[in-house]
Amino acid sequence: MFRHTPFRYATLALLAALAVLYTLNAEYFGLELVAEIAVLAILVLALDMVAGFGGMVSLCHGALMGIGAYAYALLTTAGGLTAPVGMLGAIAITAAFAWVIGAICSRSHGIYFIMATLAMGQMAYSYVFEAPIFGGDDGLSGISRLDLSLIGLDLNDGRSFAFFCLVMLGLAYGFSALVLSSGLGRSLSGVMHSEQRMRALGACVWRVKADMFGVSGGIAGLAGVLAAQHVMFVSPGLLAWTVSGEALVVVILGGLGTLVGPLVGAVAFIMLKHEISDMTSYWHLVVGLILIAVVMSGANGIFGWIESQVERWRPRRAAMTDEEIRKREVLSDA
């Protein structure tokens, strides 16, 4: 079940401080990196919500992000809507798509769920690729960023846009944490541990899954909106299943089911990608080796590993075993 611990709060504060400092001092290339990390971080937050807290390992989150990006592009260009309305509309549309996917796939588990979501994502991909309204292979261009001149910000400036993405990431994190700590989030945790018992308790299991998948999809849609605003252009590649696969890699690299871990994973992944691709074009190979090392170590990703090391140094109270409890009782009886 999702919980904030002092260590998690500390990690969040550290990440936020580093992000602000870096963004204040970065040059053009560094600011691009910040935006890229923020978009990926929002996407993997969305994925961790369902995969880490509901056991729904989705291979369609890349496609959901793509739907968000295209929806924003179409609503604000062909649709003629203003950017804020377009953003909200795109998020709502993606959430609705995700809810339907979640409802349809709610009956399948494990590898079948993965395949079902993969199929959904591929359907979206090929539709976007083929239908003329989406511009086919060429994608859509002429997308504009949100206009914040009202509060004196020009998002066409790299630094302002990077900060804007960070704020959106902060909001997405807060929202995810809120929903995971809600009745719905708790029920999802129950569904992950025993669907049978959850049903026997009177919960509507498919609704719990679909609702959370919808929320997660909305957040993935936000990632898409920001991706579209970032490069001011969308192409079908956004919906490719490899994007979903990469997001899953980042979640596992950071720490599945920790919500904070995927943020760490996103930073590590983008940084590695850029540092190593400077040195060798085989950067995927290096990332692959690191992922294997992380998985083989038995730890729950980078963050999970650090957290378990920290836990060791603190006396544990929450997770007392039966024996420990009995010993305590004996002691207090004496």
Binding site: L178, G183, S187, S189, Q196, A203, A318, D322
Partner: protein, 247 residues
Amino acid sequence: MLETRKLCKSFGAIDVTKSVSIKLERGERRVILGPNGAGKTTLFNQLVGELRPDSGEIHLAGEDVTALPVAARTRRGLSRSYQKNTLFDGLTVEENLSLAAAVATGHESSMWVDSLTRPDVREIVQEVANQVNLMPYLHAKVSAVSYGVRRQLEVGVALATRPLVLLMDEPTSGVGPEMSKGFHDLLNNLPRDLTLLIIEHDMDLAFDVADTITVLNYGEVVFDGEPEAARGSSLLKEIYLGSWEDA
């Protein structure tokens, strides 16, 4: 309160439930006896909706629920505990009880309110934890507590849905005599208007707590009546004690 009418179920060639008709009044405490494989658990599975009967009807509080899914029956006041523990193993004892109480109080799908911290949920958790003696273990993970404690939790989770009818499938199976006695006390402390249907192998306990007894053998009801009558029944001795002694 709970009634079956000519319930039938077969797995292939084996009839596991043969035209079972039983009727429980409100507040009645009935024990189901029967040798291994008699079809007791299968009957429970049909009562709660995990298994569809081939024919026959199930009525709960005057309503035909035969076609309703599991969750809908639970929301109408039917709850069960399992013969084989079916708990949320990765969670704590408190979280297990809270999930049940959250559904009972309607907070299970709220997107903004944390069901675990709701006063009405916490109240149920405290009450049930006291009833089934789980207070010392609330913060322990299910995977870290002993089998006996998990057995208590199994009943606790079922109770935390605030049922009108509670079905318990061998609640004391595999635990020592001391816990069996504790279970006895638990039953005595449950509200008298709660309708109970208990599958039990321990004859003494069965005769002690039961208002009525149903004996199943090869899927068939072979006895239905008061414990006193059952005690004297040679049929029951033959079927139940016979196979018991064989084992």
